[in-house]
Amino acid sequence: MRAARIKSVGAAQSPLLGVAMFTPAVLYIALIIGGPFVLAILYAFSDARIGATSFHYAGMENFRSIIQSPSFHRALQNSIVFTVCAVVIVMISANMLALALQKPFLGRGLIRFLILLPFVAPVSLGSIGWKWILDSIYSVITWVLIQVHFCTPFNAPMWLGEPHLAMASVICVHCWRLIPFATVVLLAGSGAIPKEIPEAAAIDGAGFWRTFFQIRLPMMLPITLVAVLFSAVFTFTDMTVVYILTNGGPFDSTQTLPSLAFATGIEGGDLAAGAAISLFLVPVLVAAAYFMLRVASRAEVT
């Protein structure tokens, strides 16, 4: 009799209490995220400006002018290029690092701490550190290059001043931030591989590379996808690194969609255009959300 009662108490899901408990959170999220999201769409189709008290419907005007603007094309291209390059570099590096950190060794804890610093320190502060390291005159990298006679003080590379170097610098800082993150995610994933599987592969005759590509990587596919998705989203939607390193310059060459949205909307005061630009982030986010759901559901099935 008692046992039966326990069962029924547990099974009664108390949906009313549940609803009461999560409603505040859901309401808040709907208000602060859902509301502004809708507002962003409204702005994009309006002529809102900072300081104006009202705004009016403007149809596709914003989108038309954006699509015709060369800075927008530049920003869109940069966003995609930066993201793709960063993700590729990050995933290759993270795989190497995760392999190296897998087995315990003396000092592993300390190295893990050091390696994690770029991701855990605030983005803006790490970026300023890099801004000093990449300074046109006093860059420590330049100093080293001068010492090995790779260049002279007079034709020193303008790391943040020359368009291609600036782009590379931005990509590098993104990679610098995300490699630790991806490494830790991959480490978590590789920890889930039972240790008997690589042993079985060794006995079956597989060497290091075959085991890596044919056994380890396929088994880590879901977790790798999670690392790729988050790295891509972090890079694609980031405006901080660009803002601090180059502020979009030189000559718009490092502008990305988010930083352009900020420059146009807040600094330029054209809220509507800024909102329209930032809406171009949505397709990528929707794709990312879709893949995340796929990974989550596949994890439920197995």
């Binding site: 039972p194 060794a202 006995i203």
Partner: protein, 348 residues
């Protein structure tokens, strides 16, 4: 066919402590099914892994087919191993799992299909080739693991407790399949288990391990009827051998040999007054738990096994005359716990 040999093999994990494997010497015979039997922590898996090349010995030599393999990696040793969890590659189909060793050893692609199908048919996997491991039952997974092992035609099979992950019902049929498999293929096999019933049923010879040392190597009959020490005596046989301690000797006799006095076959016998405490009715047999009356032996629980066709009337609380044939007594030195020759005992 090859012979696996270990010479003075030792593995120490922590400096200053007793090794997981201590000075083990063994040699298999061609085609034999040898069982490493022992409780958990006895070192049997470590021993197996050293033979496989997955652990490096601290000292000693391992030989396969007559040559020292200490410096050889697992894939160079021509062995195949079936893990406790089977370690099937979850992202590959059954066919690709079985084919993997062929790919890894760079066997020409043209031969793959033929060899995989041979191994699969040997184990009745024909219909399952396209499935993934997660769609298979426990018994089917074992068969895939075996097929993957046999496809390379290795010199030695190593099996690490492959039946312990199966539920009891499945275990019996899986065991039978393994036995048939060995009869068909005939490869030298080393099988690790903690289950002494498995060991006795399947092994040509049993190697009993305890705390990293070999206690006895022999056929199931030898280790059961002539145990080398008290550990082997009590580890094999369930319920275990009854042991009585005296001044410098331990006397042992198996429960099935401790019977009502009139049922003990002729010849010299030792008699006891036996008070039964409780009885377990198991269908094919009854197990009696009780004490021997008289003297300091009363505190030790003594077990008797009566088969179903022996008379009833031996109930809890009753006292009877029980006896053991002298030839069924085993003597162990009390200090070393090793088997010794017959010694005088007090009730003679």
């Amino acid at each position: 066919m090859a012979v696996v040999e270990a010479r003075n093999l030792t593995k120490i994990f922590k400096e200053g402590e007793l090794g997981a494997v201590n000075n083990v010497n063994l040699a298999t015979q061609e085609g034999e099914f040898m069982v490493f039997l022992g409780p958990s922590g006895s070192g049997k898996t470590t021993l197996l892994r050293m033979i496989a090349g997955l652990e490096t010995p601290s000292s000693g030599e391992i030989l396969i087919g007559g040559r020292v393999v200490n410096d050889l990696s697992p894939r160079e040793r021509r062995i195949a191993m079936v893990f406790q969890s089977y370690a099937l590659y979850p992202h590959l189909s059954v066919y690709d799992n079985i084919a993997f060793p062929l790919k890894a050893q760079k066997v020409p692609k043209a031969q793959h299909q033929q060899k995989v199908e041979w191994a699969a048919n040997l184990l009745g996997l024909g219909r399952l080739l396209k499935r993934k491991p997660r769609e298979l039952s426990g018994g089917e997974r074992q068969r895939v693991a075996l097929a993957r092992a046999i496809v390379r035609e290795p010199a030695v099979f190593l099996l690490d407790e492959p039946l312990s992950n199966l539920d009891a019902k499945l275990r019996a049929s899986a065991r039978e399949e393994l036995e048939n498999f060995h009869k068909q293929v005939g490869t030298t096999t080393i099988y690790v288990t903690h289950d002494q019933v498995e060991a006795m049923a399947m092994g040509d010879r049993v190697l009993v391990l305890h705390q990293g040392t070999v206690r006895q190597i022999g056929s199931p009959k030898e280790v059961y009827e002539n145990p080398a020490d008290t550990f082997v005596a009590t580890f094999l046989g369930s319920p275990p051998m009854n042991l009585l301690e005296y001044s410098d000797v331990i006397v042992g006799f198996r429960p099935e040999g401790f019977l009502p006095a009139d049922l003990v076959p002729g010849g010299k016998q030792v008699q006891f007054r036996y008070r039964i405490k409780y009885v377990e009715y198991l269908g094919a047999e009854r197990v009696l738990y009780g004490n021997i009356e008289g003297g300091h032996l009363e505190t030790k629980e003594i077990i008797s096994r009566l088969s179903w066709n022996m008379p009833s009337g031996y109930e809890a609380g009753s006292v009877h005359d029980f006896a053991v044939a002298e030839t069924d007594l085993r003597f162990f030195d009390r200090k070393t716990e090793k088997r010794c020759s017959a010694k005088p005992y007090p009730w003679q």
